[in-house]
């Protein structure tokens, strides 16, 4: 049983009066003190016990005491979905059962992650729950930021009528859900591989082979199918000519996300990592819908990679990794490129999403990639802008750092990388087009 501030002050006053009364041999003071003490004692006696138990997953309330042993209050929770995109909504239904025959006045708070917003209903309910009755509390939460989240535990508090004492228990009932980064619709990323692959895909690359787009005319070689013969060209040139087509092929796309601690510079909802994960999710969806295989590398305190693959399943694998990307550590980009270069096909497009800050190896790493003929696109959400917008950077500091950043971006462009200084208000499609020089 816990004391409230009010009861503590009442008790202190009563004890002080009582002792003063004894010292001064004054019955009147003692009388007032005794009344106060009696009032407190009776209120404490009347405080119902928050006897609760839980049903559902992760029931690990091992600190069983007499209250829990009664098992009269049971909570069960149901989420409308376990996976949602940023700004998506989840309906939560919490069922509370009173298995006792006595009615109880309970305060129930279903703990929701702090970043979540309660959009409809309330997760805090004061209720009178009759004996052997149950009730349902429903509310809707809005999830503004990606990540792994947990709803729970359920806090049950039983108070005396005057708010002097309370008993509180936590029902260890948890439900996890995942918030994927928000995706932007991309019409064309203007990125394709320069290297053909065995399987044909939806993207044509500038090599002759099986495909649908016209590439060239050449003389007939025995074995060429007759449907490829270009009769007009034969008539014009007098030689038997056949059409050659541009080869459709699957591209290997590698997305590299900088999730070092520095990438979270700026406000919680507007920082480089938030922008990078959203961009990566959008790009992954776009490339996978084109039947490309997409791989993902995130680096922060460690290098986490998802091998290239195609299909919808791969999209969810990537989205899950992106949802869990945490800003930690300071692994240099060079370490990442050294690690992954042996495993990716030459000429594959590499998209780096990084604020390009606090990493002296960026230029070396990009030089290495370009030397091996990788098509490097860098989208760099500018943390300077986030900081400046949040008024944490003064004008002079901003200008100086911006100049340094411009010089770095200029150097990277000089190495042949497509770099875009991605400002906060710029849409991903615009940033991509800017990076590719459109």
């Amino acid at each position: 049983m816990a004391w409230s501030r009010k009861s503590a002050m009442f008790a202190a006053l009563a004890v002080a009066m009582y002792l003063l009364g004894l010292v001064l041999r004054n019955q009147q003071l003692v009388t007032v003190a005794v009344v106060l003490l009696s009032f407190l004692t009776y209120a404490a006696f009347r405080t119902t016990h928050a006897d609760v138990a839980s049903s559902g997953r992760r029931m690990n309330d091992t600190n069983s005491d007499a209250g829990v042993a009664l098992q009269s209050i049971v909570a069960m929770r149901k989420l409308s979905q376990a996976r949602v995109f940023e700004d998506g909504e989840i309906d939560v239904v919490l069922r509370i059962q009173n298995r006792s025959t006595l009615s109880k006045v309970l305060e129930v708070r279903d703990r929701v992650p702090e970043v979540m917003r309660i959009k409809k209903g309330a997760n805090y309910v004061l209720m009178e729950l009759g004996g052997r009755k149950e009730t349902e509390i429903s509310y809707t939460i809005e999830s503004p930021l990606r990540g792994f989240y947990t709803v729970g535990p359920v806090c049950v508090r039983v108070q005396d009528a005057f708010g002097l004492f309370h008993n509180e228990r936590e029902i260890q009932l948890y439900d996890d859900f995942l918030v994927f980064p928000k995706m932007e619709d991309i019409k064309d990323a203007l990125i394709k591989s320069r290297v053909p692959k065995i399987f044909t895909g939806a993207v044509n690359i500038r090599n002759p082979g099986e495909g649908s787009n016209f590439y060239n005319l050449r003389e007939y070689i025995p074995g060429d199918p007759m449907k490829k013969v270009n009769w007009k060209a034969w008539a014009r040139s007098g030689k038997m000519m056949v059409n050659e087509y541009e080869r459709d092929a699957v591209s290997d796309i590698i997305l590299i996300i900088d999730s070092r601690a520095v990438s979270e510079t700026g406000p919680v909802s507007r920082n480089s990592l938030v922008y990078s994960t959203r961009a990566a999710a959008s790009l992954a969806q776009y490339f996978l819908s084109r039947r490309d295989s997409v791989g993902l590398v995130t680096y922060g305190d460690e290098i986490v990679s998802v091998d290239r693959d195609t299909g919808k399943k791969q999209l969810y694998v990537l989205l899950t990794k992106l949802a869990g990307a945490m800003a930690k550590g300071n692994t240099p980009l060079k370490v990442v490129t050294n690690r992954i270069l042996p495993h990716i096909n030459r000429g594959s497009p590499i998209i780096l999403l990084s604020p390009l800050e606090d990493d002296p190896t960026v230029i070396d790493a990009v030089r290495d990639l370009r030397a091996r003929n990788f098509d490097v696109t860098i989208l760099s959400p500018s943390s300077l802008e986030f900081e400046f917008d949040a008024r944490r950077l003064d004008r002079t500091g901003y200008e100086v750092l911006k100049t340094e950043r411009d010089i770095l971006i200029g150097e990277l462009r000089g190495l042949g990388a497509n770099v875009m200084d991605w400002e906060p208000d710029m849409m991903l499609v615009t940033a991509l087009a800017g990076a590719r020089g459109f």
């Binding site: 009066m17 041999r25 003692v30 009388t31 007032v32 404490a44 006897d51 805090y124 004996g131 750092l401």
Partner: protein, 312 residues
């Protein structure tokens, strides 16, 4: 060509940065670092909107503290306001009866200054602060005014410490039991005043929280009825317990009298038992029994028993 460039100074580089004027001195992180605001201020959108109750709010409100000012009073709050006002009136009347100025610190001070009327004026002033502040706090639902009123009332109560004079007016009964009952009534009104005014703030907070959607209440009527029931029963029980404690000098001789009249007579004439130490003994006895009840977790056992009986 040179005319096209807006030259503001020798170091101007605006032509290099799409018209932006940028200082052309060597970029230096050290220099910049000196100028960058080192504020560790957390951006606004990083802080979830959580209302942290102030000290006074937590004293009055308990766990449910609304994040905005009270909305107009509902029926429960109005009822509590009327009850509190009545309680305050009675408490003020009893205070006036029970607490003469004699024996107070301000009485001694006034005598020292040779202005006897000053003591009485201060005494009345404290009571006026207590009652007027209380009335203002009750009807305006002002927590600070209520706290001031509490302090004034407690200050007047502490006057008891200053004198053996029992009451302020001669019209009051001389009998010990009646005096004790009156004193208990005074103390109960004091406690009830605290509790009812507290209830005004708590229920105002609750009502505001309900109407703003911060909290949802199921069975509001039953919860309020339970509060009314408790506020009726608790002071009565507290009064009975206090009376038992204070009348221990009569109860013990009566119990001993069942076995030995002489000893009972001796006990009833005992100076110790009729003095404040008798009350202390009574308090010790009664509260030892209560402590034992808590030690064996009696409230929980009673609850278990009630549940068990209801299950059958």
């Amino acid at each position: 060509m040179a005319d096209d460039i807006n030259v503001e100074g020798a170091s101007d580089t605006s032509h290099l940065y799409d018209g932006k004027t940028v200082r052309s001195s060597a970029p230096s992180r050290k220099k910049a670092a000196g100028r960058i605001k080192s504020s560790t201020e957390i951006p606004k959108d990083a802080i979830p909107e959580v209302h942290v109750p102030s000290w006074i709010e937590s004293f009055f409100g308990g766990p449910i503290v609304s994040s905005m000012k009270f909305l107009p009073a509902n029926k429960t709050v109005t009822n509590l306001q009327i009850s509190s006002a009545m309680c305050l009136t009675l408490l003020t009347a009893l205070t006036l009866l029970f607490t003469p100025v004699s024996g107070t610190a301000w009485f001694a001070l006034a005598n020292m200054l040779n202005i006897p009327i000053l003591g009485g004026a201060i005494h009345i002033l404290i009571m006026v602060i207590g009652s007027v502040g209380g009335a203002y706090g009750i009807f305006q639902r002002d927590q600070r005014a209520l706290l001031v009123s509490y302090v004034a009332m407690i200050l007047v109560t502490l006057r008891f410490a200053g004198s053996k004079v029992e009451f302020g007016f001669d019209v009051l009964p001389e009998a010990e039991v009646l005096q004790k009952i009156l004193l208990i009534a005074y103390a109960l009104f004091l406690v009830m005043y605290f509790e009812l005014t507290n209830g005004i703030i708590r229920f105002s907070m609750l009502d505001t929280s309900i109407r703003t959607g911060e909290v949802y209440v199921m069975g509001e009527g039953k919860i309020i009825r339970q509060y009314y029931r408790e506020i009726g029963i608790t002071p009565v029980v507290a009064g009975i317990v206090a009376l038992l404690t204070l009348l221990i000098n009569l109860i013990i001789p009566a119990m001993v009298g069942l076995f030995d009249d002489v000893q009972a007579n001796r006990l009833s004439e005992s100076v110790e038992l009729t003095s404040v130490y008798g009350v202390a003994l009574g308090t010790a006895m009664v509260f030892t029994v209560i402590a034992a009840a808590f030690a064996v977790n009696l409230p929980l056992r009673i609850q278990q028993m009630q549940e068990g009986r209801a299950d059958k």
